[in-house]
Symmetry: C4
Subunit: 263 residues, 4 copies
């Protein structure tokens, strides 16, 4: 009633940013985007400055497994990092919209923040599931609208040609497309993954290599494996949650079979 | 058209309340929260003062099984109790939202009433299904944000540690999380239940014991079993209703197999 | 964009009405309500004066089977009849809402028209499926809020006691409940039906007998059977349509198996 | 937040149009309408002047298979053609609404543009699936409201009588019905198709023959087969996308089985 359906809450004053670039990593296939930006913001000691809350997020709260019974809301979060050459803004989150129209509304809200911060460039992240388990180093596929920016990423190893990718679902694609209408150019990077894993550290590493190469920064990759293992516990709970919410999106849809369910 | 999608109707003037605490019990697993507050408001002779109506509630009316053909709307109801040490506000209801975004809208409406009444503290109720039928006294699990309030409940027997609870679905969790943003601290209490029972008098009693201990009040528990048996008849109808509504949320979704269905 | 989601279009000026009563018959179990008011408005030569259009109706148009390729929109329609003792307003329609929140919005719109016309009393119609095929004359079950009005209907044969009816889904119930809040008293009449028939002329006749008895009017029932047979053809198309719409509510949800489907 | 749920973006100034007629071809059975207008706008060298964007479209972006990794948004597009006798406005698109209420909102938006351009007449296109594969030349079925316009099309071979068509789902039907309320007369043409083909060049040709005959123009049909083959690749991706979106309309609904899915 008194709230807007989707809103940004600034928790910290943001300093003037130097040529800022947005890196988005929301949940998706193999949690590649989310894990990549999660690792990045830890390594770069990013500072959180805003949260997005939305009526279109799953109607749940999460319990932090590392703390005892502490509730956290479902949200998307903005962080910033002051860099040498340029500053970085990171968007991470627990969930995407669970209603069709919510996707567009949340993306509009994210882009409003970008415009406000003077962001002119962005990298969105995701995974591309091939259906095949391989031992080879996962490739990073790319898509975008700005040919010059796409060329830069192609030079550092991103595969744009003959990818057999027909569409991008959710925020990663919409941000590039609607962002472009608002004068923000962007590239969507998709880590190659089998699609059979809950998370994929190797694919996440491939994506992180491209990002750091593009930004000209270095991060320590040695803790990536361990960190992703840890995060996998949270992902498992979110995944089980989302399959639970999907069929009957109401408290009344609760079934006796859904044990461990709280109402 | 002429109505807001979710609205509060005050049916009674509320007197000034002394340090009021909200106790919420909407339908959920084992109907533990709803039955606990239902018993509490009978025992404490609580006075009803407001109703929440919402377009996001199931699009049905209920027929009171104790009366003959008398229609009652689907609603959430507020009651108050003038206490010795402090006053109590109780929220009880027939249903939660059947649309995803409705959950947030209804919770916002509940919290608007809380702010209006000067409520600074709340207890929300639910059940946690373990999947195991046991003869032991059901435990009460807890979750919250305010550590001091959580500590108080831990001292009187609520289990916050190692609960294996990953998320709370619906109003009980959202109230704590969004309430916290509005300066209302709260704890969510979840009665341990097998998840195989339509209602669970023993788990309901465990929850009521914690509430009365925390509030420093006494209620007669001797009628609990009988009352819950009686309420179970209504629950059965609501449950069957909700599985009916879930698949095809329209009059057109009516199937010939759904006997006893009225259109 | 330029339209409201639900709107009333007056197609005829309504004369001042004398103590008008609303009789509602929208699609439901056995199409009893819809067929009863359809027959009534033919027999009483009712005059159409308004249409309700809504974004919450099925996103289709119908082709009149009696005409060749003539399109009619999905709508609810208001008619009036100038009577001796009192005037009658009839609501008939092709469909109810296909979204959960639309049901409330459409009912609010119907009640706005009622208030505008000075309607203080209404009869809503539906069916109650027993699951049993019998040769006995179908009973008419009732539900309501105003005890005096319920008593009047009980005297002329409506069964209010021990009906085993737990809820009423859709407009028939919501109109009584929300109408009551706006000072319009009403009774919902439900014709007993097996639930296995697409339409039920005998149950429709039982309902019509109660209505005419209550209103103190007489209508010729001899054409009822033939008319309902004719209407059944339209119902079949609407029913098949609604099962088609339910699974994938978009043009993209069209499956090759759904032959005879147009996009 | 800052955007309307459905909006028109004019990309080109439209010159004054002479007695303009709208021809609509959005995705549907056999992609007959979409392919017909797609071919028409190529052959007539139509000029694009506006786009419709909507939160009710699928929450995806498409990757152009002819380009390498280039993202295009889901949209409906308006084109115009300056003709000898009269001017033509063409509406083509990637998708229809994926929410029930979105269909009406998008149709209202299309009609707002029509009113703005002085359009008084329209032809909407679709397919009618018979379930039978035949070698005969596919017929073109018709539906409408304006009897004079329907007569004109009947004279040039459109079948309006005894078609066994009960309803038209989506924009093609709603445009005729709601357009009629705004003073725009129209006819919906539906190409006969088996319903077992992803696209149907022969049925598309039948529909194009009627359109060109009605408009008194000539187009070269020799490239139709080749072009539709080419378009079929894009259709395949859109179709697979739409079955993917239907079950779990959120990023969380992603299943491991849905390979080639990006998030």
């Amino acid at each position: 009633m008194s709230e807007k359906a989707t809103e940004v809450i600034f928790t910290e004053k943001v300093p003037a940013l130097k040529n800022p670039i947005l890196i988005e990593g929301l949940p998706g296939i193999g949690y590649i985007g989310r894990n990549a930006v999660g690792y990045l913001l830890d390594e770069l000691k990013a500072v959180k400055f805003a949260e997005i809350h939305s009526h279109h997020f799953p109607f749940v709260v999460l319990l932090d497994p590392k703390k005892n019974g502490v509730i956290t809301p479902i949200k998307n979060e903005f962080y910033y990092v002051k860099g040498k050459a340029r500053d970085i803004v990171i968007l991470i989150g627990d969930a995407q919209s669970i209603t069709p129209e919510g996707h567009y509304q949340i993306v509009d809200t994210i882009l409003d923040v970008c415009v406000q911060l003077g962001i002119k460039e962005m990298i969105t992240l995701g995974g591309f599931a091939t259906g095949v388990l391989t031992e080879q180093k996962p490739r990073v596929f790319g898509a975008g609208i700005d040919q010059k920016m796409m060329d830069s990423f192609e030079k550092i190893g991103v595969v744009f040609k003959n990818t057999n990718i027909g569409q991008i679902i959710g925020a990663s694609g919409l941000l590039i497309s609607i962002g472009n209408q608002k004068g923000i150019k962007g590239v969507c990077l998709m880590g190659e993954t089998s699609g059979m894993l809950l998370s994929d550290p190797k694919s996440t590493e491939s994506v992180l290599e491209i990002i750091t190469k593009y930004l000209g920064i270095k991060i320590d990759m040695s803790k990536l494996d361990a960190k992703i293992k840890e995060i996998e516990k949270i992902i498992e709970k979110i995944e089980s949650l989302q399959t639970k919410i999907a069929p009957g999106a109401s408290a009344g849809g609760k079934k006796k079979e859904e044990l461990g369910y709280i109402g």
